[in-house]
């Protein structure tokens, strides 16, 4: 199988504290992967490293068919290369409308001069409307996103992620603050997306992970503790220890 992203041997310390310890991870171009692990296991930090927010002290991150190193790229370059991210806490631009948020995320040239003269065409409006429908915000396009509920902001952020059309989606706890029906919708959406691209989902909720029905990576104290199907990893004594032993 070809790999889309290959992370090998990364470590990072914050003031002497090893948040990520010799971690390796690979994912293919159309694969769904769940990452679980107790609080503080380093899941968010792992995403920070891939997206360029945090520089690792050691290790390599390689991307795409040419295995380009991502470590020398800025956050914006990494995003443009095709890595989209949804944050743990929903972060949308609250002073702007739902439509403006989606329009900004829409895949297009990001150069300031190009953006300056860019005006939405009917096709762009249609795409924004379609995305809003997909995430259930069709009736809220003209509202400031700051007024939305927590769950709606989560959806808006997922919509923005879709608008970017990334090759790899990193989704940090998408289901937090969602109702059961919304969780099921999210599951379907993520499974569907993973048919055409790579999706990495960080989630605490085991039922949610079970419904994703995919390979699971368990992180603990900054390294991979176990990897495999959910049933396989939950039988692993080391995993049981980590989850129940504290």
């Amino acid at each position: 199988m070809t790999t889309l992203l290959e992370v090998s041997g990364i470590s990072v310390s914050f003031d002497g504290f090893r948040a990520i310890n010799n971690l390796s991870f690979t994912i293919g171009p159309a694969e769904l992967r769940a990452i679980i692990g107790p609080n503080g296991a380093g899941k968010t930090t792992f995403m920070d490293i891939i997206t360029g927010k945090t520089r690792p002290d050691r290790g390599t991150v390689r991307w795409g068919p040419m295995a380009d190193s991502l470590l020398s790229k800025s956050e914006a370059e990494i995003a443009r290369a095709g890595i989209g991210r949804k944050f743990q806490r929903p972060t949308v631009f609250e002073d702007q409308t739902v439509a403006e948020n989606l329009m900004m995320a829409l895949k297009a040239n990001r150069n300031p001069f190009a953006v300056l003269f860019w005006r939405p065409k009917p096709a762009d409006h249609a795409r924004v409307a379609a995305l809003a429908t997909e995430v259930g915000l069709a009736d809220h396009l003209a509202r400031k996103s700051g007024e939305l509920s927590h769950g709606q902001k989560q959806w808006l952020e997922i919509g923005m992620l879709l608008a970017q059309e990334p090759k790899l989606l990193l989704v940090d706890e998408p289901a937090a603050g969602m109702t059961l029906a919304e969780r099921e919708h999210t599951t379907r959406l993520l499974v569907d997306l993973a048919r055409t691209r790579a999706v990495v989902v960080v989630e605490h909720d085991m039922d949610f992970v079970r419904r994703l029905n995919c390979k699971v990576t368990v992180l603990h104290e900054g390294s991979v503790l176990a990897e495999g199907s959910l049933d396989h990893v939950t039988k692993n004594p080391a995993v049981i220890d980590v989850y129940l032993g504290r």
Binding site: S74, E75, E94, D95, P112, L116, R119, G146
Partner: protein, 410 residues
């Protein structure tokens, strides 16, 4: 497209209408073309005020929209003034030297003329040679190019260094203040080539237009300033109305998040910093011929702080707010400091406004920041029945420069 832009942005039309009415009104009341109700010196004050409104627009774009509190834009304004001042002084001195040499038997050589000009201009600082930076001063088109090129390149270099190292917030403000101070101190030196603390003077005399009375010239400059303000207003309103506007407001509220959307935040900041520096320079190039004199004191760091105060008092993040703030505060300021405001006799102490105006300004700034963060623009929201969203005190983004709840409109 432009038509639909004006139709969907009525505030731009209203602004242009008010500006036109104001321009016509002043013309009708002027000495040169009307009833002479307004003195020429007051026409100049009004023309200069329009230039200050123009630089305030630049400040609002960079601070109000993009959240970059630059406290150095008045340096670009002054640099624009210096660049146009060099041509004004050179060409005017050339006229004087030529007429003085016209009585000689032999026609003067180019060298004699240049030496004459140099001696005239640089006699005050004890030099008699034209410094190399005056190399373009003989040509109006070249010197006009320098009006935007010099501040633009300076802003580009400064911005590149600052933004690349991700200097933000208060540190960036301090850095711009330091840069302004350094530039002013350099200009104060006699060997800077710009006449040290004498600065450039006689700028109100336009070469080739000696026969035109100041009353007429002042109206011409007033018109030019109004046209520049109107055009820039439309251009900036267009700029902030599209996706570019969305991106820069997003940078103001949460720049880290913008990066993850794939926008190079540093590139946008650099673009804006340079663009607004050039707008400021154009404003300065229109201002100083009306003021007549420019010297390094114009680059005092405090001037750039005033600029921020005007925008804050007018209401940041709305272009008309910047214009209202700059016009209101600067006119009020010239009224108070011009000795025209009546002193208040408290019996034990007389409030002399020339001394107390700054205290009043500082106090109103504090009060506006605390109690009316939308500034004067908030009054317009009241009239238009816009209200702040209920965010229980939270700002609209995590960055220091993010709009505060009370500044946002629904």
């Amino acid at each position: 497209m432009t038509r639909s832009f004006l139709a969907t942005h009525p505030s731009v039309l209203i602004f242009l209408l008010i500006l036109s009415l104001f321009t016509i009104g002043v013309t009708i009341l002027s000495e040169a073309y009307g009833t002479a109700f307004i003195s020429t010196s007051f026409v100049k004050t009004l023309g200069k005020t329009l230039c200050l409104c123009l630089v305030a627009l630049a400040m609002d774009l960079i601070w109000g929209y993009a959240g970059i509190l630059s406290l150095g834009h008045m340096a670009f304004f002054a640099l624009g003034g210096y660049m146009i001042g060099m041509w004004l002084m050179y060409a005017r001195t050339e006229e004087i030297v030529l007429s003085a040499l016209a009585n000689e038997v032999l026609p003067p050589t180019t060298e004699e003329v240049t030496n004459g000009i140099a001696a005239q201009i640089f006699g005050v600082v004890g030099a008699s040679e034209l410094p190399p930076i005056w190399g373009f001063a003989h040509s109006l088109p070249l010197q006009l190019l320098l009006v935007i090129a010099v501040p633009g390149l300076l802003a580009l270099a400064f911005g590149w260094l600052a933004f690349r190292s991700r200097v933000t917030g208060v540190y960036l403000s301090i850095l711009t203040q330091a840069g302004t101070l350094a530039l002013a101190l350099w200009l104060f030196q006699n060997d800077s080539g710009l006449r040290g603390n004498n600065g450039l003077s006689g700028l109100q005399n336009i070469p080739g237009l000696a026969h035109v009375p100041q009353a007429e010239l002042s109206i011409w400059f007033f018109w030019a300033s109004a046209a520049a303000l109107g055009l820039t207003y439309v251009a900036l309103a267009w700029l902030v109305s599209g996706k570019f506007g969305s991106v820069i407001r997003a940078i103001r509220d949460d720049e880290a998040r913008v990066r993850f959307l794939g926008y190079s935040v540093e590139g946008y900041k650099l673009f804006l910093f340079t663009l607004t520096a050039m707008i400021a320079a154009i404003a300065g190039a229109l201002y100083y011929p009306q003021a007549g004199i420019i010297n390094p004191a114009e680059l005092a760091p405090i001037a750039s702080i005033y600029l921020a105060v005007w925008v804050a008092i007018g209401g940041r993040g709305r272009l008309y707010g910047a214009v209202i703030g700059a016009a209101f505060v600067s006119l009020l300021s010239s009224w108070f400091t011009g000795g025209r405001a009546p002193s208040i006799d408290l019996g034990f102490y007389t409030i002399n406004w020339v001394d107390w105006w700054l205290v009043l300004l500082g106090l109103s700034f504090v009060l506006v920041t605390l109690f009316a963060p939308k500034g004067i623009g908030g009054l317009i929201d009241l009239a238009a029945h816009l209200r702040a969203p209920d965010r229980k005190g939270a700002a609209l983004g995590p960055d220091d420069s993010a709009l505060r709840e009370k500044e946002a409109r629904e």
